[in-house]
Symmetry: C2
Subunit: 198 residues, 2 copies
């Protein structure tokens, strides 16, 4: 299957059959991609960071790790990661409240609205906004538990992660539109990313 | 106000007025207390670990930190902590799936059901199960992001945390019934805890 686009600052969702592999490509190397997965048969079951961490016992998943739903069932298995391995499971999707908090006035694209927009294009309404799997996002932690929003430590243009679907699911992405903090690179220029389902 | 009991292995919820202080006491020193807070006027707004971490920039909150809702509004402010300061914001509430996973057959008390039970005693139904604030729970992290379920590093019987309500809210607790992993002490004996609202 050809590469599909997650447009800059916007969302995109797709259906994935059990056993298919979703490959998410960080085309330009510094773009965060917020990622969600929902059980296609029951959207109230979804990939959960807090349930997954209880089983992976890791802040950041790596190949071999299994992401679980809020009912602790496997939903996505990490197969491969050529992106440098820096991802985040700790931080909420940005939203209009976040940008107001950062001093932005008026509308600002945001990952929470992008989840709804991407799902709406499939005729779906997410029942809530789960904590996202923030691919390619760099939130370093210190020994005392202090966190920071940081640029990618070493951008890998074209780097990708490959995730196998463990059930019939809906995958949803947002190419994070954060342009105030340096999370999408020091230049603060959100761009598009790509994915493939095969 | 007198001390109220969170019964061993069970849940308990209460209404809290804006400005009141909720004091949670680790009576015996090794008991994890899963804690949730909901906007009393709209239960779909609740204390969110992933939104709070984006603002506190800490894995574990401490006095002065503000816990925020999924709409990024302040809901609880940490005033005091005499418990040793070890808490968790990373791990989901235990549930029946968790105990099945750990090899337990048949019914096992669990924090997810306890949230529903505690709220039901107030005539309320939580719309979902937010990631809990796990008071007195020790999930150490390593520089490479590895997590562990560990006993309290230094139990402080009678240690407490004091949290100020920043809106009219419903507070819900579960005295975690985990008796397979050593999270409630090496002896694996879940006990009661207490709280006060004043």
């Amino acid at each position: 299957m050809d590469l599909l686009t997650i447009p800059a600052r916007k969302g995109k969702a797709a259906f994935v059959a059990q056993g298919q592999v979703v490959t998410v490509v960080n085309t330009h190397g510094e773009q965060v991609v917020d990622t969600w997965a929902f059980n296609r048969a029951d959207l109230t079951e979804f990939m959960s960071m807090e349930h997954s961490r209880a089983h992976t016992l890791r802040l950041v998943p790596r190949p071999g790790d299994v992401m679980r739903t809020n009912r602790r069932r496997p939903i996505l298995t990490w197969l491969e990661d050529t992106s440098g391995g820096v991802h985040d499971t700790l931080i909420a999707a940005c939203d209009r409240h976040r940008y107001a908090f950062l001093g932005h006035e008026g509308h600002h694209d945001n990952c929470t609205d992008n989840l709804a927009q991407g799902m709406a294009e499939l005729g779906l309404v997410p029942p809530n906004v789960p904590s996202p799997l923030n691919l390619f996002m760099n939130i370093p932690w210190s020994p005392d538990g202090t966190l920071a929003f940081a640029s990618p430590p070493k951008p890998v243009p074209g780097g990708h992660v490959a995730l196998r679907a463990e059930m019939e699911l809906v995958i949803a992405f947002s190419a994070c539109p954060q342009d105030i903090l340096p999370i999408n690179g020091a230049a603060g220029r959100p761009v598009e990313a790509h994915f493939r389902i095969a």
